[in-house]
């Protein structure tokens, strides 16, 4: 079976949006429709993390077919917490590879900015282990402890860590779909409101609304899926061997590289899950783009900038592009598609192969996706 291709992609602007979840999905599909007609897709795969709690709506796989006038096409919803957008892509690829469908539509979306922050934080914290929640830990608190441990183990300073949001905001400013399109500097990052020390609000991805989609096909498309990998890990971070590396990413990356027949040195561009600034550094090491403990050196030397040897998060990452939790994983794939087809405009880098890494929960259901330009 030859590789599954991406025929077209579409996206809504990410940010604080007035529209409903289904309206955002429509916007993404309309964007895609400028390039390809979704009318004859044979199945729909929808990824959204928690519409039940965020929007009090359900039965969304059917609803999106109705709204997009695709009924009676079969449709399912996929969910793996914050890596849902990657999971739905992986399921759609498998469905096409199985031979049952030749052309499918994959959508990922979340609507979550309308609730107050405390409520949203509480819903998001449901992904954590009970023992962590018992002590009032939230995702930022666990991420802060991970960041502090990484800084201690590998000698990264707080100033260098701040380069992650500075870079990602700089890239986001070049991305018309990004939630935040303004640059920030290191002083702004360090002086901002503290969420959980040492992480300020600029070290934490925002709460955003947004949707994106892709048509996958056996025969047409300029980008192909070269390799996929996924792995789970323990719920509690304290049940793991290391605080400064995510085993689920490492296992997923190994599977993806092996099935793609690709080495880390072949990768020209990466989109990684920077829900928290320190995660971008850790992700870059878990993907073997840098040696363990050396990711921060690459950041310091500018190697992960747009003009660097391995640009990371040219889209602006979760930090600046935004983080509608169920959509982010697929929006990374959309960005790499644009990069590999020379459609990234001011963010354009030179790459023939790209990698995406998406984190579910606090790194216990991670996905790695390797894409390549079709020759």
């Amino acid at each position: 079976m030859s590789r599954v291709r991406i025929e077209a992609v579409g996206m809504s602007r990410f940010g604080r949006r007035e529209e409903t979840l289904l309206e955002l999905c429509r916007e993404a599909i309309d964007n895609l429709s400028q390039y390809s007609d979704p009318a004859d897709v044979e199945a729909v795969f929808l990824g959204t993390m928690n519409p039940e709690e965020f929007t009090s709506t359900s039965n969304l796989a059917a609803a999106i077919c109705d709204v997009a006038c695709l009924s009676p096409v079969p449709a399912v919803r996929v969910e793996t917490a914050s890596s849902t957008g990657a999971a739905v892509f992986h399921e759609a690829v498998r469905a096409v590879k199985s031979g049952e469908f030749e052309r499918v539509l994959c959508i990922a979306a979340e609507k979550m900015t309308h609730l107050d922050t405390k409520r949203t934080t509480k819903i998001l914290a449901e992904v954590l282990a009970p023992v962590e929640r018992k002590y009032g830990a939230t995702m930022p608190a666990i991420a802060a402890m991970i960041a502090r441990r990484y800084m201690h183990e590998h000698g990264m300073s707080r100033e260098i860590l701040a380069r992650v949001p500075v870079k990602n905001h700089s890239n986001g400013a070049l991305n018309p779909f990004a939630h935040f399109q303004k640059q920030v500097d290191i002083e702004k990052v360090l002086g901002a409101k503290m969420v959980s020390d040492p992480l300020t609000i600029y070290d934490c991805a925002p709460i955003s609304d947004g949707a994106c989609c892709a048509i996958l096909s056996v025969k047409s498309g300029d980008v192909e899926s070269l390799g996929l990998g996924q792995a789970t890990d323990t719920l509690a971070v304290t049940d793991r061997d290391s605080l400064t590396s995510f085993r689920s990413t490492r296992i997923a990356a190994k599977k993806a590289y092996e099935s793609a027949g690709v080495q880390p040195s072949d990768i020209g561009v990466a989109e990684v899950h920077d829900a928290f600034s320190a995660f971008e550094v850790i992700d870059s090491e878990d993907l073997r783009l840098f040696k363990p403990g050396r990711g921060w050196k690459g950041l310091e030397k500018g190697e992960t900038e747009l003009n660097g040897s391995i640009p990371i998060n040219p889209s602006g990452g979760l930090k600046a592009r935004g983080h509608p939790v169920g959509a982010s994983g697929l929006s990374q794939i959309v960005e790499i598609y644009w990069q590999l087809t020379n459609n990234a405009n001011k963010r354009q880098v030179d790459a023939k192969k790209g990698i995406c890494q998406s984190i579910g929960g606090l790194a216990n259901n991670n996905f790695v996706t390797i894409l390549g330009a079709v020759r």
């Binding site: 509480k122 023992v131 018992k134 930022p140 502090r148 441990r149 969420v195």
Partner: protein, 70 residues
Amino acid sequence: MNHASFPDEGKVLSYTRLQVPPEGFNAPLDIVMVEIDSGPKLVCWTDSSLEVDQRVRVFSDQGMLRCIPL
């Protein structure tokens, strides 16, 4: 699941002061991850100022674990 009995000794893996705690908890919340000498790692609270790798004693206080420097 690992088990440990308390009070017990270990070292600080990491810590944070959470300024934006979830519903039901007051800010600031001082959360610590400790690695007990016998092996298991755990989450607890503290009233002390800590450093990474500092030796601490973990004890139970009204059903919740806390740590203090040795």
